[in-house]
């Protein structure tokens, strides 16, 4: 809804904040209930962002980049850093600077600029343009049919890769097979046992990369065709153009895992070992360059490190309940393993992408840490034949308009005004543990730092930065307090073409003394962002804090918020009103409480992990849709229009289009479905009906096209079994308890959940309590 109104709330900076004016003190900030947070999509493209072919000027003390908010003395050729107030001289090549000849970064509208970092002229080889690297890690423990699907997907992907992209291939089942693509005599495979943890050093030694393989780590590889002296590169990683044929024939011959599976047992699958071997291979061959491990997994790891469940089928894969009761014996160990794998990958600058397709869980919950810390992509589907996987996978490798803009080796640095402390970042990154005066004591997410590593990031990747206001500033405040606060985000990364880029976004907001006036504060509230940030924090707390009661916590915060910012007479619920800036927030909270992020018990831990990863990396608009789906209704009587997310929106003669981000539901009312079944749409005189049927399909395709991972499309009819996908998201204003009041053609939801109205009533009552 809000997104309809504002198509680009983030603007050039791609930054949104929960509060657009900041309370001055820690106490005031905590009274605001919703934490101070900014979300940023650091490399989101925008047509207005200038790209500058030189390196930015950095402040001598805080190394913030020169920006539009710096005070510039054109005469003295001096600029004052807005963060630390350090006076910096312009270097000689800025000598031409003048009122009429300002460099781009000083233009007030260019709060975000991008620099192309040239290779160091003194060391031309230091930053060569490196080809992207893909190591495919393919599970072979699956039925023939699935394997065929995934093989054809891989072949397609290889065909889409740029010619110079280096490709490696690891397959695994009971054991992990590293294919030596550069061996011409026959197919050659290094076999690693699946049940033994293997260190990086062992991988190197056993692949014969021991001594020779290390050399390049010292400096960037140089020379030779591929730019690599490393023999390992030529053996295991070959340019796509060279190895496409080999790979294709290899895939043709690839069989499902040949190790026998006992009856009543799961296939033995060593996902953990396969991934560490792939990581070791990349670490040996190409440390520090952009590389992705593309893992295609068809089931749970049951062998060796990273095991999530025993092979005995009588033991189900852990559920949320097991996790709560600490009855998941493998979970912690597996998480620990993936955590160490994540560390290794981050230190190498490599990405782990996870494409999991199975009807049961595959261990996404355990692998989440490795995927998220490296900024990898994750797609969870039911089958490799399903479009959720097929189309998403294709999207990863495709270029052109819909490219994901996969970038590598990103680093995010944040500079901020003195009084601001950074608690941490929620999103696909890893703390680089770079301490500084702006680091807060309390840590949320990836904290303890002012710099983060993003091994992989794409143009839609979004981070949530949580801030605190330092309480020690009181002393400063009275004096020369600057009414403005500044935040600067510096993101360096390797773009898909191998160029090294640096993007600098500097934003400013106003300090406000909320003790004096809360009106300004209220006006600065971004409820959509706030809802998303609350969802992210809730998810994080649910994962991190044992026994965390998310619903209560959300409720309490909502009540506090309403108490603080609502207008009411004490103890008079009917007098309660909310400023429009807050009006949608309770509804967001209502839906959040009901969402998959909080009500996890309807989902497997894998799904929850998957949802949360996407929640954490998507932009605010998409994340809001995850929390509160959008519903559009199509009928003969009117144009498509947003409908209330309520069961009451269901009508026999309507088609509803529900976008809950992960799935898109086209719901045909009973009558519509009957007409359709009778084939009216095929009759020329009912062309309008055909159009009506087609409209939501087109809209759904549009949404699907824009989104990664590709959402699941559910087409269903009223009272059909698939209709549950819609009903689960609707406000149960009509339940079996009050079914008799319903009009014909509408629907009821069989639930005891409270409806929005009941929720509001309670909220009002509690908010006004003294």
């Amino acid at each position: 809804m809000s997104e309809m109104a504002n198509t680009d709330p983030e603007g050039i900076d791609a930054v949104r904040m929960t509060w657009n004016v900041w309370p001055r003190t820690k106490v005031e900030a905590s009274k605001c209930v919703i934490p101070l947070a900014a979300t940023i999509a650091p490399i989101r493209p925008h047509p207005d962002i200038p790209t500058l072919p030189y390196a930015p000027l950095r402040c001598r003390t805080c190394s913030a980049a020169l920006n539009a908010f710096a005070r510039v003395d054109l005469v003295a050729k001096i600029w004052i850093c807005p963060f630390c107030y350090q006076r910096n001289h312009f270097p000689p090549h800025y000598a031409m600077i003048s009122e009429t000849n300002l460099p781009c970064e000083l233009y007030p509208q260019y709060t975000t600029v991008q620099y192309t970092l040239q290779p160091d002229p003194n060391n031309p080889s230091s930053a060569p343009q490196l080809p992207p690297v893909f190591v495919f890690v393919l599970d072979t423990c699956m039925i023939e049919e699935e394997l065929e699907f995934v093989k054809s997907a891989m072949k397609q992907a290889i065909g889409l890769l740029p010619e110079n992209a280096l490709v490696g291939f690891v397959s695994f089942g009971t054991q992990a097979h590293v294919h030596e693509l550069g061996f011409s005599d026959m197919s050659k495979v290094y076999v690693f046992r699946g049940n033994k943890e293997i260190t990086k050093e062992q991988v190197l030694e056993q692949l014969g990369l021991g001594a020779a393989g290390r050399r390049p780590t010292a400096g960037y590889p140089k020379g030779l065709q591929n730019g690599f002296t490393n023999t390992g590169v030529n053996r295991f990683l070959l340019p796509a153009s060279d190895c496409e044929f080999t790979l294709n024939s290899l895939l043709d011959e690839l069989q499902t895992d040949q190790w026998p599976v006992q009856a009543g047992h799961r296939a033995s699958r060593c996902t953990g070992v396969a991934l560490s071997v792939a990581a070791g291979l990349l670490g040996a061959c190409l440390p520090g360059t952009g590389a992705r491990i593309v893992a295609l997994v068809g089931g749970p790891c049951t062998e060796g490190p990273g095991t999530i469940v025993s092979k005995d089928l009588s033991e189900p894969v852990r559920s949320h309940k097991d996790l709560d009761k600490d009855a998941a014996p493998y979970f912690k160990k597996a998480v620990k393993f993936y955590d160490s794998l994540a560390k290794q990958l981050v230190s190498q600058g490599h990405v782990l992408d996870l494409f999991a397709s199975a009807l049961d869980q595959v261990g996404v919950a355990e692998m989440k840490v490795a995927v998220e810390r490296t900024g990898g992509l994750v797609v969870l589907a039911e089958s490799f034949g399903h479009s959720v996987f097929k189309d998403s996978f294709k999207r990863v490798f495709k270029d052109g308009e819909q490219t994901l803009g996969l970038c590598f080796n990103g680093t995010l640095e944040i500079n901020c005004s003195k009084d601001i402390k950074i608690q941490g970042v929620i999103g696909p990154c890893t703390s680089l543990e770079k301490k500084g005066p702006n680091v807060a004591d309390t840590v949320i997410g990836e904290g303890n730092t002012t710099a983060w590593k993003m091994c992989g990031l794409d143009k839609s990747t979004c981070f949530t930065v949580l801030f605190d206001v330092s309480s020690s500033d009181k002393s400063n405040a009275p004096g020369v307090a600057n009414p403005q606060l500044y935040l600067q985000f510096l993101t360096s990364y390797q773009d898909p073409e191998g160029k090294t880029m640096l993007r600098v976004t500097t934003v400013t907001r106003q300090w406000v003394d909320s003790a004096v006036s809360s009106e300004e504060l209220i006006q600065g509230f971004d409820q959509e962002t706030a809802a998303v940030v609350m969802a992210r924090i809730t998810s994080l707390k649910m994962e991190m804090e044992e026994g965390f009661d998310a619903t209560r916590w959300l409720d309490r915060n909502l009540i506090r918020l309403c108490s603080k910012f609502g207008n009411y007479r004490k103890d008079d619920p009917s007098s309660f009103t909310l400023n429009p800036c807050f009006s949608l927030f309770p509804q967001f909270m209502f839906n959040l409480r009901r969402s998959q992020f909080v009500q996890v018990f309807n989902n497997s831990p894998d799904e929850t992990a998957y949802f949360r990863m996407l929640l954490n990396r998507e932009n605010i608009t998409n994340a809001a849709v995850m929390i509160q789906p959008s519903l559009i209704s199509y009928s003969f009587n009117s144009l498509p229009q947003p409908a209330l997310l309520d069961v009451a929106s269901i009508s026999a003669d309507r088609i509803l289009l529900l976008d809950s981000y992960f799935s898109i539901v086209i719901f045909h009312g009973m009558t519509i479905a009957q007409w359709r079944n009778m084939g009216y749409q095929n009759q020329p005189e009912h062309q309008a009906f055909a159009q009506l049927l087609q409209a939501p399909q087109d809209d759904a395709q549009m949404i699907i096209r824009e989104r990664f991972p590709v959402p699941r499309l559910v087409v269903c009819d009223q009272h059909g079994s698939q209709a549950r996908f819609l009903l689960a998201k609707l406000n149960p204003s009509a339940t079996y308890n009050n079914a008799n009041e319903m009009a014909a053609g509408s629907d009821v939801i069989f639930t005891d959940d409270v409806s929005l109205q009941v929720f509001f009533e309670h909220l009002q009552r509690l908010a006004v309590q003294s």
């Binding site: 026959m186 197919s187 495979v189 290094y190 076999v191 690693f192 033994k196 024939s249 011959e253 190790w259």
Partner: protein
């Protein structure tokens, strides 16, 4: 006896060269300060035995004297001083004498090579004649059935005898042939009794021999018989026993026939002599002398006659007792001998050596028939006892008490070779199927039904010959007894009338379905292996041998290569090309595939052939010097674990990495001399227990490992060999490997390895009658419980030494039974129980023991025991021990059976008259010398551990062949033979 002597003579010469033996011998000799000459004379006398007595002697003697002298002088020179003493012993003399003689005499020189030849020369002729036996080879080949191609090599090896690797197979191949060949060779050349066995084959020789000795005592009965029939050749050996055992009458008539057959030994003798005359080379004298000289020592006493024959050093002595008495006594054994002695050798009719083997019946009348020498050519008719090929005892009569045995100082042991190759003319072993119920067994000791179980009570019960328990006859197995107390159906039922039968195993003998024939090839492709051509040789050998693998869907193959990693190959048909699977973790190995590493041969033949062609080139440029042998076999084992099978490993360098990596201990030992001298034998022990532990695991899962070592350096065979030894496999050793000459041999060895009769997942147990129990087993196997021997693989070449001990007294006049049961799976997947029975008479008479001692078996027993000691004892001690074993026997004989002899006489039991010679040879053999390479010695004693009786003597006492006038076929054969002699 007599015959043996001659052979012995030559050997002596050979032996003579070495000194060590002397001391031992000396004792006897020592008494006589007399110089070698005396000894010689004695020797002569001995032979002469017969000679002296008879007119003929004079002549021989007359000749001899010169001989001795010459020999002495010559001999001495030749033989180093030490020799002098020992030399004196027959052996010594023999050669020296020979050599000198050769020249002296005349033409011989030409033959000279024969050196020993002296004896040889004479014999040579014969030999040749006999050789023709080489014909025997041919025959054997024919008989062997084995591919002719195989033969050559095998033959060669066998011939070389010494060359274990080759030899082994060859022998196996030729089993029959080798023997024949061997015999012939030995006989001729050495006349060595040992070979003599072979001689039997010669047949012709037999006669001659017979004549010699026989004349005296035998003459009357057997002599005649034998002589006429060439057959007699073997007779000697048997004859003696026979007679002794049977007594005169019985013997005479019935035996005669046997004798002929058995007479082979003699024949050799005879041949030997005859040849001299006939043979261009040696004047008879020569031959005679050598023979005589040699013989005497060996022959010393003709044991047969209880009165030991004394080989008096002094002639006089002999004449007195030994001679006089002996002749009669000797009668049997000596019979021929003595007879011969009285007969001018030149006058003896000499049958032309012919290759017709002797027919040997295992039982005659109702008693055991002593077996012909192991190295002779014979055809067995199983009449109740098993063929001696399968099982033979060191003594063909069992002492009733342990004390008696101890007094004799002899060993009581069985040499069991349960799958030995039969002579082609022998009846195949009959297979008996009892259906679901399985074979009838004693309910107490679980002994299998056999011809010696006595049915009583109208056949309703039977008494177990092993434990004495009375069992009820199963109803459907019941049969009435005939008037003779035997079951009426005894002759129709193989298990009741044959010493060896095979039962079809019922379900209860299977813990799983019988395993298929699985062959896994593991090839070293490290840099050295590739560059020396070893890899190519292995690949080509395997490629050629694929077609020899058993046909059918049950045959599965797998292949892997290794350097510092292990490379498996997926040969599954679905793949367009083989897939190479590398196992890089060589500290903790695993198999890369569960199923497709080992594939049905019929499914992967093309892939396999292609792969084998490619492997050498694929690794051409490899620069990996390391080799992870231990890890590789472990990985291959893991791949085979679920089924078991044969693992054939081609290894070229010292395993340097991975599990069970070895260090170059030999070099270290050299640099640290003080340590190496004190504990030199430590280098012959496995470096650590890792491989042993692995080996036991392999055996448990029925994986049998053969290692083909194709190397040019030290590879620590002492450590590596633990694997094949424990799993029922063997080591083949090609050192220094030559890409030019060795591939053919490698192929041949491999081919025989795969095509020879063999079984898998076998368990073997020997049961004995009450009073005797098995003390220990030794050979290539794994023993997890004391009573059984586990054999992941068993083949026709493997022999197991079973030592026995008394735990009670046996009844004089009764028979003691031995039963070896081998449960195994054939290459075609049938589960079978091969039951081999031997029943021998018990005796209270010490003299009977000496008379019925089995020279070949006794010596093989020595040999194997020495081999066992080599890695654990200082060399000197081992030699002393061997020597003492021999001395003690002779001493006992002298003490208790030859009381009349004077101190100056060396008295030898007739049956064991060659024992000193062989003992000397043994002491000089590679394994017991400290001047050899560690690997050579390790190989030697490992080779010995599974060595069969027929090959044992040729190993230490090589056969010799004259090659100057043989037909081209034989030359080819011999050239091949020698190319690899080491």
């Amino acid at each position: 006896m007599a015959a043996p002597v001659p052979p012995g003579a030559p050997r002596p010469g050979a032996n003579a060269r070495q000194q060590s033996p002397h001391p031992n011998f000396n004792p006897n000799f020592q008494t006589n300060p007399n110089s070698l000459a005396d000894n010689m004379q004695n020797m002569n006398l001995n032979r002469p035995h017969s000679m002296p007595n008879s007119g003929p002697r004079p002549s021989p003697f007359g000749q001899p004297p010169p001989f001795p002298q010459s020999s002495v002088t010559a001999g001495f020179p030749v033989a180093s001083p030490p020799m002098s003493r020992p030399g004196p012993p027959p052996g010594m003399v023999g050669r020296p004498a020979v050599i000198p003689a050769g020249p002296l005499q005349s033409t011989l020189p030409a033959n000279v090579p024969p050196g020993r030849p002296v004896g040889l020369p004479v014999s040579h002729p014969l030999p040749f004649g006999s050789r023709p036996p080489p014909a025997s080879l041919s025959s054997s080949t024919g008989g062997a059935v084995l591919p002719s191609s195989a033969f050559p090599s095998s033959g060669v090896s066998s011939a070389s005898a010494a060359p274990p690797p080759p030899g082994t197979r060859p022998s196996s191949f030729v089993s029959s042939s080798p023997l024949t060949g061997g015999p012939a060779g030995p006989m001729s050349s050495a006349r060595a009794g040992p070979s003599s066995n072979g001689p039997p084959a010669v047949g012709a020789g037999a006669l001659p021999g017979a004549p010699q000795f026989p004349p005296p005592a035998i003459v009357s009965q057997p002599p005649v018989g034998p002589p006429p029939s060439m057959m007699s050749a073997r007779a000697p050996a048997q004859a003696p026993t026979m007679r002794s055992v049977l007594g005169s009458s019985a013997v005479s008539s019935p035996q005669t026939p046997p004798l002929p057959s058995a007479s082979s030994p003699f024949p050799a003798m005879t041949q030997a002599r005859p040849p001299p005359p006939g043979s261009p080379y040696g004047p008879q004298t020569w031959s005679m002398q050598p023979q005589q000289g040699t013989q005497p020592p060996h022959i010393p006493g003709s044991t047969h006659a209880q009165p030991p024959r004394m080989f008096g050093m002094p002639q006089q002595a002999l004449p007195n007792q030994a001679m006089t008495n002996i002749p009669p006594a000797l009668g049997q054994p000596g019979a021929p001998m003595s007879g011969s002695s009285k007969i001018d050798p030149n006058q003896i009719p000499r049958p032309i050596p012919n290759a017709t083997p002797i027919v040997y019946e295992t039982r005659h009348g109702n008693s055991a028939n002593p077996p012909p020498p192991a190295t002779s050519d014979y055809i067995v008719r199983d009449t109740g006892n098993c063929s001696p090929r399968y099982m033979r005892c060191t003594i063909n009569q069992i002492p009733c008490t342990g004390d008696l045995l101890t007094t004799s100082a002899m060993q009581l042991a069985l040499l069991v070779q349960p799958m030995a190759l039969p002579h082609p003319s022998e009846d195949p072993i009959q297979v008996v199927d009892f259906g679901e119920s399985g074979p009838v067994r004693c309910s107490r000791c679980k002994g299998y039904i056999n011809p010696f179980m006595k049915f009583i009570d109208q056949g309703r019960k039977f008494i177990c010959n092993l434990c004495g328990f009375t069992d009820d006859t199963p109803r459907d197995y019941h049969c009435n007894l005939g008037p003779d107390g035997r079951r009426r159906d005894a002759d129709e039922r193989p298990e009741l009338c044959r010493g060896t039968v095979e039962f079809v195993a019922s379900k209860e003998y299977m813990v799983r379905d019988p395993m298929p024939a699985v062959y896994f090839f593991l090839i070293d492709v490290s840099m050295n292996a590739v560059q020396t051509g070893a890899t190519a040789a292995a690949c080509s050998a395997i490629n050629q041998v694929i077609s020899d693998l058993p046909e059918g869907t049950r045959t599965q193959v797998g292949i892997a290569t290794f350097d510092s990693t292990i490379h498996f190959y997926n040969l599954k048909r679905a793949l367009q090309q083989p897939l190479m699977l590398i196992v890089p973790d060589i500290q903790d190995v695993y198999t890369p595939l569960e199923t497709d590493v080992i594939v049905q041969l019929s499914e992967c033949r093309q892939h396999l052939e292609l792969l084998l062609e490619n492997i050498p080139t694929m690794f051409q440029t490899s620069t990996t010097a390391e080799s992870c042998f231990g890890a590789a076999i472990k990985a291959a084992f893991l791949a085979m674990k679920s089924i078991g099978g044969k693992l054939l490993v081609f290894q070229s360098v010292l395993p340097s990495v991975g599990i069970g990596a070895l260090s170059s201990r030999e070099a270290e030992g050299r640099t640290n001399i003080s340590a190496s001298e004190k504990e030199a034998h430590k280098l012959l022990q496995p470096a650590d227990k890792i491989l042993k532990t692995m080996a036991i695991e392999f055996a448990e899962y029925q994986v049998c490992v053969d290692v083909f070592v194709t190397t040019q350096t030290y590879v620590d065979i002492a450590s590596i060999s633990v694997i094949p030894r424990t799993t029922g496999g063997q080591v083949y050793y090609y050192y220094p490997f030559s890409a030019v000459s060795d591939p053919a041999k490698l192929y041949n060895d491999l081919r025989w390895n795969i095509t020879r009769p063999q079984g898998f997942e076998a368990v073997m147990r020997v049961r004995c009658s009450q009073g005797i129990q098995v003390q220990d087993y030794s050979g290539n196997f794994c023993k997890r419980i004391p009573t059984d021997v586990d054999l992941a693989g068993i083949d026709c070449d493997k022999c197991i030494l079973v030592t026995l001990k008394h735990d009670d007294k046996l009844q004089d006049g009764s028979e003691c039974g031995f039963q070896c049961a081998l449960l195994y799976t054939t290459v075609y997947g049938q589960r079978r129980i091969r039951v081999t029975n031997l029943s021998l008479p018990c005796t209270n008479m010490l003299s009977n023991l000496f008379r019925s001692a089995d020279l070949d078996t006794q010596f093989t027993c020595f040999l194997k025991q020495a081999a066992i000691e080599i890695p654990t004892c200082p060399l000197l001690q081992v030699r002393d021990h061997v020597t003492n074993l021999c001395i003690n026997i002779l001493l006992s004989y002298r003490k208790f059976c030859a009381t009349v002899s004077s101190t100056g006489q060396l008295i030898l039991p007739e049956a064991l008259k060659l024992l000193p010679l062989y003992t000397l040879a043994l002491i000089k053999s590679r394994g017991l010398r400290n001047d050899g390479r560690i690997d050579d010695r390790s190989f030697w004693f490992n080779y010995v551990s599974s060595l069969s009786t027929p090959l044992a003597i040729p190993l230490v006492y090589p056969r010799m062949f004259a090659i100057h006038n043989v037909d081209t076929k034989v030359i080819k054969f011999l050239v091949g033979l020698w190319s690899k002699v080491f």
